[in-house]
Symmetry: C3
Subunit: 133 residues, 3 copies
């Protein structure tokens, strides 16, 4: 099963897409296998991280924003705005594809793991993630 999801994003940051992906696994009827996700963008990425305490999410975003700030004089790729090059770098530091096992018809995530789409730009709109099962 391959399906391209169009995911609405209301701004920069980590968006929990676990329920969306879990729903696709459930409706696929796959009992055991591998769920591979691929994001079709170079300024947004995928991340599996703690889904329990929101402060972990906030700290991740703040730490990456400090490591890769906007308006760094090293950038020459600036025509699409000050958030563009930092977005490419943060995407390079995180994941474009992820593979999660499916056991007993469900994603075999750890107790505190959530799947996040990390929007790296000041972007409202939609992002495409391809699910392969």
């Amino acid at each position: 099963m391959i399906k391209t999801l169009s995911i609405k994003i209301n701004g920069k940051g980590l968006h929990d897409i676990t329920p969306l992906v879990a729903g696709e696994v459930e409706s696929s009827g796959v009992d055991e296998g591998l769920c591979s996700l691929f994001i079709q963008h170079t300024s947004a990425s995928l991340l599996i991280q703690e889904n329990y305490d929101p402060s972990a999410k906030t700290d991740l975003e703040r730490w990456f924003d400090r490591l890769v700030p906007e308006n760094d004089p090293i950038y020459t790729h600036t025509t699409e705005g000050p958030d563009d090059m930092p977005a490419h770098i943060k995407a390079a530091l995180t994941a474009t594809s992820l593979s999660i096992p499916v056991i007993g018809g469900s994603l075999a995530l750890g107790s505190w793991q959530g799947i996040f789409l990390w929007e790296q730009r000041h972007h409202r709109g939609s992002r495409r993630v391809v699910v392969h099962l």
Copy 2:
């Protein structure tokens, strides 16, 4: 074949799990395919790195510890201890899932590649890695 391994960890750092994964590939009887690994934690990660000279391992650990130190005033997620938020960040910078080809019944690793579980916390206990073949 899907199997969840419980791996004993005796502290922070890179733990070579290549023999463990190779043993699973061998006992599976798979001749050609893909071996996917998934770690069910957000403060430990997976890494393929040089397995020959131990100084490469030490330098990797030291470099990441300097980039992501404990007690950084930017952290607000601190209730689980000073090593918790750095662990989440280092996990985000490395891999939660890896896929390694299997050729002729063995992992198709390069000459100097080993598979490591990177424990990011001061943790003694066990970590779970799911192997899908």
Copy 3:
């Protein structure tokens, strides 16, 4: 289908291997599936990034070179030259394996995505990437 590609590299930096991988997908005859890539090295890596404006590529290389410079006094793993340890670290920060969906016989890349082999050393020669379909 599993095939090991030997890719000629003429020096450090991002090398676009999209046409090479797309050719393997085409000749495999796979219509729907998953194309997994694995690089058999610890000082070169894989990256999916913008393939349109060359300045994005240059900025990525410059930013990573600044984050992980040669001759950092923290390194003890120096016998193979000043570019060796930075190469291992940059490989750890990016990807060793990638999985890209195949739809309608083609790689389901986004409009601006290219697949790059990131040579992290001052290296002329060849690198091996295993393609699994």
